[in-house]
């Protein structure tokens, strides 16, 4: 549906120029939900804006539903208003001089050939019903709460039934509670309409919860892309690992490596772990063993093969507690049941599930 190839974009800035995109390639299949995830300034919005036609790329090509909308080499550039897209901004961009109905009706009203008024009315009400705002049709846009504005923005983006829906951090201006609620609503909505979606966010839990495919961007490049579980479970490097959820990092040395399993002696000499690894590492090479908090269990009694540490802090988080443990200079985080009666200073043993660890050359 959406194909992006070799996309580059350089901005002229006060002090020279800045290459925001350094060659972006990706495909989103029909009906797919593709998320660009990355920290601020990595080029997510720029990519999305190139797809929308709001920025003109310096290189590469973009096609939507088989139509080439931008191809720098062939000098093709279809303006935004001729691209078959729906767009939702972080700032909602609800037009303050129109009421809810007029906002949503706008894409139909400017459509050529003209859409009959009765048709417009029906389709707008359908769209409003979709987002649960049908009773707000005559409300002025300035009298809406954040969540309501967000919904109107969706209705407006979807009322044309576009081929492609582009969302730029649509939830980041909302309260935590509302954000979570809207996340489900949004997902529901997209599932119901079956529209192909390109989603931009810097919130990893949004990306993991919603997407078919997550692409982690960094400094103008896609570093890794794949299904959420895959990217979460098999990050290609430390940065990705750390960006997607918290990661505990233990230093160690390779003791032995065979059959896809690498044996690592953790620094401090406490224990060794056998970790699956894709790369072949030479014996004695320093490595980082990375594991996620939920991939270890914490015990208050000695456990075979577990790492002994000191409890530093228990952070109560309602459903669970986070246990922070000190191991020399390293602070490990694990998840424990809130009823666990540990107190700061207690000894504790962390048992890692080696098969869920990830190994990187240090």
């Amino acid at each position: 549906m959406l194909t992006v190839r070799g996309l580059t974009k350089t901005y002229a800035t006060a002090d020279g120029s800045f290459q925001a995109l350094k060659g972006i390639d990706f495909d989103v299949p029909q009906g797919g939900f593709y998320t660009l995830l990355g920290e601020s300034g990595c080029g997510k919005s720029t990519t999305l804006r190139c797809v929308a036609g709001l920025e003109e790329p310096d290189g590469g090509s973009i096609s939507i539903g088989g139509h080439v909308v931008a191809d720098v080499e062939r000098g093709a550039h279809v303006p935004t208003f001729e691209r078959d897209i729906g767009l939702v901004f972080q700032s909602y961009a609800i037009w303050p001089h129109m009421d809810v109905f007029a906002n949503v009706a706008y894409p139909l009203r400017v459509q050529r050939p003209r859409v009959a008024a009765a048709d417009i009315k029906a389709r707008v009400m359908d769209a409003l019903r979709l987002v649960g705002m049908e009773s707000y049709a005559t409300r002025p846009a300035t009298k809406l709460s954040g969540g309501q504005q967000q919904r109107v923005a969706f209705a407006r983006a979807l009322v044309r039934r576009p081929k492609l829906l582009l969302l730029d951090e649509p939830l980041s201006n909302l309260d935590a509670k509302l954000r979570e609620q809207m996340r489900f609503e949004l997902q529901e909505l997209i599932a119901r309409t079956g529209v192909t979606t390109l989603y931009v966010t810097h919130d990893q839990s949004e990306a993991l919860a919603m997407s078919d495919t997550v692409a982690v961007m960094s400094a103008g490049r896609i570093v890794q892309s794949g299904a959420p579980r895959e990217v979460y479970g098999r990050p290609v490097d430390r940065t990705v690992a750390n960006f997607l959820g918290s990661a505990n990092i233990l230093r160690g040395k390779v003791v032995d490596a065979q059959g896809g399993l690498t044996e690592v002696a953790l620094d401090g000499g406490a224990s060794t772990v056998q970790v699956p690894s894709r790369a072949v590492l030479s014996r004695g090479a320093p490595v980082d063993v990375i594991f996620r908090p939920e991939d270890a269990t914490t015990h208050l009694d000695p456990v075979d093969g577990a790492i002994e540490c000191a409890v530093e802090r228990i952070v109560f988080q309602g459903g669970m507690s986070e246990c922070q443990l000190r191991l020399g200079p390293v602070l490990l985080r694990t998840v424990v049941h809130p009823v666990m009666g540990a107190r700061p200073g207690d000894r504790a043993w962390v048992a890692i599930q080696p098969e869920r660890c990830i190994l990187f050359a240090a």
Binding site: F89, A93, W95, P96, H97
Partner: protein
């Protein structure tokens, strides 16, 4: 006037009003002083004016022995004269026409500079403000030289090209001529206001339209314009008030075409040429102006309120995207160039050339400057001009800023009234302000009449400029910045001195510079209040002109330009730096 990126809605800031108890004694005195000054500077002249309208006979000062209460002035002005039959219709055509010209030009210019990738934007921004510096009399004189039907340079050139006979083809002494001249002269002011409105608009609103499938023109008509509406209509109303007030153009260009408008009518009542000024009648005419102004201001205030609500909070997604002009680049530059040529370059050239030649083609010389420097009135006038423009600008800026602060941040009875009073000042034409101050100080002689101090007082009624600018930037300054000072143990004066004023500095500077320019070229008020001891440059220029010393008058004009041009660069820096803050 950039909107700060943090998501504090404006309402929230406005809602958080500090209690007066936090002010302490010193604070209360300062704040009350500012309020009193505002009332004195604005209300006193207004009341004097009202009284004058109902005192007669007209040629007596309102409280001179022999004067009494009467409706005679009103009857004379509104019942028996051509006011209704000719002045009002003429004024309507003139104002409507010139505001349209101003507006179309200023809007296009502001849009080109703020929203497109027009080359050399920063330089052009400065250049567009240039006509702000040129006194209206000079503009009118220059345009007469350029467009007079027989000998106007442009007409001569056109006749040469088109092979036509004299006179024509353009006759500046006509309603269209007058409209065009006034229209162009008012552009910079409106340009400034519109530019600010466009700068604060969230481009995502337009992008959303584009992404909805709307073509650029549709987007412009259905989204850009309506969203800008409060920011557009407010300058429109201000431009209307300015056009109503201006009388240099109608006097110099409109008079030969025998076009009488409101402002010239007041001027003639005050300068009847053969008799004493008809104070009462002038005040009676002015009353109508005030009513019109109050109505317009009420509308304006409404729009501004809505504009505050309209301020689109810009999230992280904000980026000032600019329309690529593409092949429209050259026409756009030509348009800007044409405006600059007519509004800035040609008048300046004519002015400078006249000052060196006296207007004849014989030889260029420094005679006019020599004569001017030898004129005993000249040097004191230079000093007075700087003194009056500087002090009044400083006074207005300070009082206005304090006033804006207390209106926004304090809760006290009469706040709304104070707001209206400070704002009313925009609706007072300077002829009236000068006249009212004169009446006031003739009625209560406290020894200021005839001194430069009375000029400073009279100039200082323009509080609205400062309150508006300070208010706009105070709204951007989160009240928490001030509260953080109190919570750090800072007293009110600490807070004002170390936090509020430094944060307001850019807009205070902009306000000061704008007012300084206005004060520097102010002509009406010092004309009304002139005496031996308070001549300023603009009055000298007028007198030299009236005494047929054209070259010397042009030399004064040239010097005024020279004195204020550096100031415009300061202004630009202030305005643009505030844009860059976001």
């Amino acid at each position: 006037m950039a909107v700060q990126a943090d998501q504090a809605p404006v309402v929230d800031v406005a809602r958080r009003k500090r209690r007066r108890g936090q002010l302490g004694l010193a604070g209360s005195i300062v704040v009350a002083g500012a309020a009193a000054a505002a009332i004195y500077l604005v209300m006193a002249p207004l009341l004097a004016l009202l009284a004058t309208a109902f005192r007669g006979p007209s040629d007596l000062l309102p409280f001179e022995p022999g004067a009494h209460w009467t409706f005679g002035n009103l009857i004379d002005v509104y019942v028996n004269t051509s006011l209704v039959s000719s002045v009002l219709p003429n004024t309507a055509i003139f104002v409507a026409g010139s505001v349209t010209v101003t507006f179309l030009t200023a809007f296009t210019l502001a849009w080109l500079v703020e929203r497109t990738d027009l080359p050399w934007r920063t330089t052009l921004f400065t250049a567009i403000l240039f006509p702000l510096l040129v006194p209206g009399v000079v503009m009118a004189f220059a345009w007469t030289l350029l467009f007079a039907p027989n000998a106007g340079w442009i007409n001569v050139a056109l006749r040469g090209v088109l092979g036509l006979g004299s006179p024509g083809p353009i006759n500046i002494f006509s309603m269209p001529g007058l409209i065009l001249c006034q229209g162009i002269a008012s552009v910079p002011f409106v340009f400034l206001l519109l530019g600010a409105a466009m700068r604060t608009m969230n481009p995502a609103l337009e992008e959303a339209s584009s992404a909805s499938g709307a073509r650029p023109l549709t987007t412009f008509l259905r989204v850009t314009l309506p969203v800008l509406r409060p920011g557009v209509l407010a300058p429109l109303i201000l431009a209307t008030l300015v056009a109503l007030e201006q009388f240099e153009m109608p006097l110099i260009i409109g008079f030969p075409a025998r076009i009488n408008v409101f402002s010239t009518r007041i001027y003639f009542e005050l300068n009847p040429e053969d008799e004493l000024p008809a104070y009462g009648k002038a005040a009676a005419v002015a009353l109508l102006f005030l009513v019109a102004a109050v109505v317009l201001l009420a509308i304006y205030n409404n729009l501004i309120k809505r504009a505050d609500r309209f301020v689109t909070v810009t999230g992280k997604g904000y980026r000032p995207t600019r329309y690529p002009l593409g092949r429209w680049r050259v026409p756009a530059l030509l348009f800007v160039g044409f405006y600059l040529a007519v509004g800035a370059i040609l008048p300046a050239v004519v002015l400078v050339w006249t000052s060196f030649s006296g207007g004849s083609n014989e030889s260029l010389n420094l005679d006019a400057y020599r004569a001017l420097f030898a004129d005993r009135r000249f040097w004191p006038a230079v000093g007075n001009t700087f003194l009056v423009a500087g002090l009044s600008a400083g006074l207005i800026t300070l009082v206005g800023a304090l006033l804006a602060w207390q209106i926004l941040r304090l809760r006290f009875p009469g706040r709304a009234l104070l707001d209206v009073v400070s704002f009313m000042s925009i609706g007072i034409p300077s002829v009236i302000a000068g006249f009212a101050v004169m009446v006031l100080h003739l009625t209560i002689p406290i020894g200021l009449y005839g001194t430069v101090w009375i000029l400073i007082l009279a100039y200082s009624y323009r509080l609205a400029v400062s309150t508006r600018l300070s208010r706009a930037s105070l709204m951007q300054i989160h009240a928490e910045l001030e509260e953080a000072s109190a919570a750090s143990g800072g007293r009110w004066l600490d807070t004002v001195r170390r936090v509020v004023l430094p944060l307001l500095a850019p807009s205070l500077m902009a306000s000061f510079v704008l007012l300084f320019i206005v004060g520097f070229r102010e002509f009406t008020i010092p004309m009304v209040l002139q005496s031996e001891d308070n001549w300023v440059l603009s009055v000298i220029m007028w007198k030299l002109q009236a005494d047929r010393q054209t070259a010397q008058a042009a030399a004064v004009g040239t010097l005024i330009l020279l004195f204020v041009t550096p100031v415009i660069f300061v202004l630009r820096r202030q305005l643009l730096s505030r844009q860059g803050d976001s």
